[in-house]
Symmetry: C2
Subunit: 560 residues, 2 copies
């Protein structure tokens, strides 16, 4: 009976870093060879990173990817790894066939290649291009039109790319028709909360439909605004789970397939994380990779004594170590004594670097010349704080982290060029109630050796910060509930309105209070309106009158 | 012989303002009836405005558009205009036929309707969806599948929408096959510089292919980052130009078609503007509509005495009147005496509101606590200036205009949260050499009655500003050429690299100096990299981990 040992390299590639990503392929291919694998597979767009956005439309970037692929094939052979077939995602272009007006410039392909014996043996490309939610692929790719089947160690292996697996018919049916023994799916599938086990269920179903085993390798790591959670799996032809990689970490998942498939021996079958652990891990990984992939080593952030900046400081300590975190305490005339003491307590518990810069003298210098009232006076303080941390960022090269949570951002409860100023917002995707939950959860992990957490000696977040009433402290006695509904009421409506895109009627039908619904919709729509009135700063546009270039935020690739 | 008097309503609609846009349709239909037209046509997505971006994915917005269309048909009849057929663009959805997984939520359609006798008679939708450059339509629309032909006054009129006209085959061939007497094309086609007469050439060619007259109505006005220039045309079956509307202004273009077509009587045939006049008009219209459609009446801007802020102030005066422009002079210890005097001279010439706020005391308050050097110290000054104009914006409700030109933005020669802070950058799409050309051109218009210009009594821009060497004045003796190549050398390379997306080899093959090419590519790529490290402020994302919502910047539509 045919036997195949397959290795899935669940690794972290970086957009634009062709050399670095190729090095990762070589290193993990060597590991797979050491594990006796007959085949090793890497994620979608491994060589270029994902998402590449409009970089795919630059001819010189496509050519750089093609060249890097050829070099990689030769290098693998030169380093004695030429006998092990490698499946790797990369960026290619269509050179034959129909070129339509209006299709993406240069006809780029989200491609996969088989490398063997120093050569690129087979090339194919993604058929189904996702174009919803976070995906934009109709803009930058054309569709592939073939499904390669390659015989490895007596087994016919068909390859499909990411979205191809989600579509009925298409590549899965073709694999079944071709009588493949293994369907190999390479992916860059971003993390979403509450996704349950959609991917595993899908893999099991597709394996049964295709009548063969299915191996699903996913990217891991943060890239720009997205986090990829890994969670690669291998299932048998009956849909049974054979092996599963841990989430949010690089892993070589190796499994022996006997065909027709049955579990030969128990392989790595990682347990999915609990909900809060999963979210916290995503935030740590997203923050760490944003810092690292943008070439920073340290961060600076304002520490107010409130829960949001406390959680951001903790995530930063977990992501890059407290010795690389620089907290700035910026008390004003409206800061309570408690806030300053609580911030100092956190600094001591975590061992982050800290510095206190009272802002009263700067505020007074502005007020001597400008007569500002109400919101204008509140915003001034927030902007002076931002000037301080941006100055320290420019002087010392730290990345600025911002502390806004999703409840605040959605309702516009923040200052443009003030507390919202910075490069990355670790908790921008987390509603306020979850901020509290995550902070409490993080404290419970003290003393345990959770792999993605820093081993603090005591609870990193002071209890006083967990229990205090939220306030921006920009005027005397200010409280969040002066401007917003209680978070316990606000967050469920925000979730349905912002995340589920439910309209007013649907929100009320779902049981939300009508007056609250109207208030929340007003807040969110007004905030969105104002945010868009002040679209962020400088942009350059490819046309002389037009919109922003859409390039990935981090890009290691240069024209030269 | 069949005769038809057609009216094209080249009007300015606002995204999200369903009531206001419907009012525009009624008003211009009344004008068309007064002109004896047998048919009046409005631009693509007239009722919703264009571009609607991800608003198309909100069920409640689609329903609001559908309802507004029915109301509009009844209102036209109620106001005695029911006999005049009206073709109008709006947002609809597909309710029958294939609904595919992965297609835009709710299957929205970029639709057109014929209104007559109080009813919606015929509905159709755009077939070819542009998805390149500034367009994103695969993301938000599904394709139409029918081409209506309606007999009006004895003439068979086929309707097509925008991109449909640009594609070979498709609707144009179908119109020919249907033996239509008139192909009516409704559009929202944005302005580009140097587009020559592509649209007219296309209309002439399609008319000959379809063997019938062709009427092309385009949107006019600024919307978010785009400007629509109008330039609606009517050509005969032989491709000859029968009528042409002026650019950048609302206009009812009326023409008599005798079929087979020949010019019955000379109609309005506007002359296209010269290059600089055209660009300047686009900047004035883009600025005016950004201010107006965002609900502002006045603007605030920093006036340094340099050419960029001088041109921005002048464009603002032309767009909304000098009485609504608030210039802030923010001299520092490094500002030359000449800069202050030149800025004051401009204020006097234009009659804008002005105020001087020396920034030295604020700078000193920061320096007393922070030890900043080099770029960090320079950026601090720029950010203090931004704090001042943002404070005045918050206090008085002015929109902040920024002064960056495209040469600066492309090379990163600006300060994040500093001079780049603001809601709209009137010259962000203009390279520095063109800034000088436009300023000189504007001065030559003094005393002429150019429709889109304010009638200043003297040249609005002092000669001293036109001839001085560019400097940011953030340190003693600073000049732009300390950091950048001379603009005369820089701008041509930027044009080819940024606008034409040429790679290094292509740039050198095109005759650019290799060392200069490498320097410019380094500057642009580094600027883009840094800009993307600091993606702008607060964003909310529809998924709990994901990207920004893509909504239009200005949106008058609210959930309720």
């Amino acid at each position: 009976m045919a036997q195949l040992r397959i290795a899935l390299a669940q690794v972290n590639s970086t957009v634009g870093d062709l050399d670095g990503n190729a090095g990762t392929v070589v290193e993990w291919t060597r590991r797979a060879a050491g594990a006796g694998a007959h085949l090793v597979a890497f994620p979608e767009m491994m060589l270029t990173g994902y998402p590449v956005e409009d970089l795919a439309l630059r001819a010189s970037f496509v050519e750089a990817s093609q060249t890097a692929l050829e070099h990689l094939a030769r290098r693998l052979a030169d380093e004695g790894l030429g006998d092990l077939p490698v499946v790797v995602g990369y960026l290619d272009r269509r050179t034959v066939g129909l070129v339509r007006p209006g299709q993406p410039a240069g006809a780029p392909l989200d491609a996969a290649a088989w490398l063997h014996g120093g050569e690129v043996l087979v090339r194919s490309a993604k058929h189904h291009l996702p174009n919803y939610g976070v995906f934009d692929e109709y803009r930058i790719f054309v569709r592939g039109d073939r499904l390669p089947v390659v015989r490895v160690h007596g087994v016919d292996v068909a390859t499909a790319i990411c979205e191809d697996l989600w579509q009925d018919g298409g590549p899965v049916s073709a694999a079944a028709a071709a009588g493949a023994g293994l369907l190999l799916s390479i992916n860059a599938s971003p993390y979403e909360r509450d996704k349950d086990d959609t991917r595993l269920d899908l893999c099991a179903r597709r394996a049964r439909e295709a009548g063969c085993a299915l191996a699903y390798v996913n990217l891991v790591g943060g890239q720009d605004e997205l986090v990829f959670d890994g969670d690669s799996v291998i299932v048998g032809a009956d849909g049974a789970l054979l092996a599963r990689a841990p989430q949010f970490t690089e892993h070589l998942l190796v499994a022996d397939l006997a065909l027709p498939a049955y579990p030969v021996e128990p392989q790595t079958v990682a347990e999915p994380l609990d909900d809060l652990a999963e979210v916290y891990a995503a935030l740590v990984l997203g923050t760490r990779d944003y810092v690292r992939k943008n070439g920073f080593r340290s961060v600076v952030l304002g520490l107010s004594g409130g829960i949001d900046s406390a959680l951001v400081a903790t995530i930063a300590s977990d992501a890059i170590g407290p010795e690389n975190v620089h907290a700035i305490l910026l008390p004003s005339r409206y800061s309570s004594e408690g806030s300053v003491l609580d911030a100092e307590d956190l600094v001591k518990r975590q061992g982050v670097n800290a510095r206190t810069v009272p802002i009263a003298p700067m505020v007074e210098a502005f007020e001597a010349q400008l007569d500002l009232h109400g919101l204008a006076a509140e915003n001034l303080q927030a902007r002076i704080r931002a000037n301080v941390w941006m100055g320290l960022s420019n002087e010392h090269g730290h990345l600025v982290l911002t502390g806004g949570n999703k409840s605040e951002l959605a309702t516009g409860y923040s200052t443009l060029y003030g507390d919202s100023a910075g490069g990355f917002g670790p908790i921008k995707d987390v509603f306020k109630l979850t901020v509290w939950e995550l902070a409490r959860w993080r404290n419970t992990q003290t003393g345990r050796s959770t792999p993605f957490l820093h081993p603090f000696a005591e609870e990193p977040i002071p209890e006083a910060i967990l229990v205090k009433e939220p306030s921006a402290e920009l005027r005397p006695g200010q409280r969040d509930v002066d401007s917003l509904p209680e978070y316990a009421a606000l967050d469920p409506v925000l979730t349905d309105y912002v995340e589920r895109d439910m309209g007013r009627d649907a929100l009320i039908a779902a049981g939300h209070d009508a007056a609250l619904v109207d208030r929340v919709i007003r807040l969110v729509d007004l905030a969105e309106y104002k945010r868009r009135q002040y679209p962020p700063g400088p942009k350059i546009t490819p046309k002389n009158f037009g919109r922003d270039r859409r390039l990935p935020i981090t890009s290691r690739w240069r024209e030269r």
